[in-house]
């Protein structure tokens, strides 16, 4: 096994996802086969090879430091679910009146 149920729970926590307890077993099995597949890379000798992290080898893209008008603020609020006093309003966030903040 490349990965176990405990690791799946831990990774889900990092990814801010909830895997329902009854499907953890099946999900782990599936993730395990995927991880086993990607770990075929172990067989490749990469000693001294630089990694490629970009699609195009283009460095230091500059522009004039000049203020430009951005997207209209009111426009940007169009996809906001709830708003109040010019801010995005969100549901209650802190369980005990905010003391944990």
């Amino acid at each position: 096994m490349a990965i176990n149920e405990e690791t799946v729970r831990q990774v889900a926590k990092l990814a801010k996802l909830e895997i329902e307890e009854e499907s953890v077993h099946a999900f782990t099995k599936e993730m395990d086969s995927i991880i086993e597949m990607v770990e075929q890379l172990e067989g490749l000798d990469t000693e001294g090879i630089e990694g490629t992290y970009h699609g195009l080898q283009q460095h230091n893209v500059w522009r004039e430091d000049k203020a430009e008008k951005g997207t209209d603020r009111e426009e940007l609020f169009k996809n906001v679910k709830t708003r109040k006093d010019g801010f995005i309003e969100v549901p209650e966030m802190f369980e005990n009146g905010g003391s944990e903040a």
């Binding site: 990814a15 086969s33 490749l44 699609g55 906001v80």
Partner: protein
Amino acid sequence: MDFMDYTLEELHEQLVKKEVTAVELVEAAYARIDATDEQVGAFLALNKEEALKAARETDEKGIDPHNVLSGIPVGIKDNILTKGVTTTASSKMLEDFVPVYDATATEKLREAGMISVGKLNMDEFAMGGSTENSAFKLTRNPWDLSKVPGGSSGGSAAAVAAGQVPVSLGSDTGGSVREPAAFTGLVGMKPTYGRVSRYGLIAFGSSLDQIGPFTRTVKDNALVLNAISGHDPKDSTSFEGETPDFTEQIDQGVKGLRIGVPKEYFNEDAKETGVIESVRAALKVYEEMGAEIVDVSLPHSRYGIPAYYIIASSEASSNLQRFDGIRYGYRAEDTHSLEDIYVKSRSEGFGLEVKRRIMLGTFSLSSGFYDAHFKKAAQARTLIRKDFDTVFADVDVLVSPTTTSTAFDIGGKIDDPLAMYMSDILTVPVNLAGVPSLSIPCGFSNDMPVGMQLIGNHFDEQMLYRVAYAFEQATDHHKQKPAFKGGE
């Protein structure tokens, strides 16, 4: 008006001569969608009122005789932003998202006079190879309604294949334009990374994603790529060099060109032998036209799938962090803490395949596995890129099958993620290397279209169109139409 009977240049000529109007073309698109889309399921959203208004304006000001795209209807994949028209990426997460700006590619099409008629179905966030991962609907292959149209740009492919629109835009992160183009008998382009701005393309794998056109013919495709290419100050990864006219060398033929045949891309033990047979027959056509066929090797090809799934998933896990239920997109109800809003909104808003990729990416980037996974995959990517650099010192273009099989049955792979991932085996190395690649129809196997993949050197799309055009002129595969007419 049947879009399948005309090239873009022919439609343009009719518009200029006033034999047809832009309004009539747009109406023809909607009539065809009405007649066929209940079965095909290509479109997620239509913007008829707006499209007809744009068409009327085009007719009133007159068709620009120097602009071949003016007044032509187009469909756009649902991960490319369209101002004022719902853009969901086929995810519940963005079910009601209405962009307040256009993607650069959308804007460029509008500037060229094209008229967007609606948004096309896809695998959720472009993750998949069959369009079955859409949160909203199933798209069927017009050549055989029991088969998938490919993915992730399956709606874009099916819409053009069914004659609903003459052109569509898709996006390709690991084969998502080329595989569906192959499965539906179309021409589909994945441009060089950086050729087309990614601004307003909902990000999946930022170092791999490119927008590209679906068309019925090679020249049509080059004309659309002309319109959407170019440097964009809003995308710092867009290429700062010149954009050539991609049709300029299109009719120069293949005499004297060296065509490389990568042996790793021809699995002679494949279950469906008809695919490789069709491509080998196409190579004969090239040979007869005076091209030299050269056996070459891309020795690190077998590491393409593992490297791709680590890199694309890692980038996706980072890109998709923005979907947090706060500013836009799906927000779960009955939440009681910040953690709760994040976790419930994401868990309810994302589908299963998206969760798998986020999990794989998060795992590959986590501290204990970063070196063995993400770093190793980036190193493999270097070796894969160098394979291409080496062969392009020797040959002008590479030819291979686009996929190992023709379109598979709906439901055939959806419960086996690994089998689905393997569908991309011949297309992902191209994205890892950043080189351009075009899929064109080259024959039939099991009564379904076969796609031939042409791969070029960085920024040499002109060569791809030239080599593809020569084949198209010598054959009639692109003139075949699906029997499906809709309404039955």
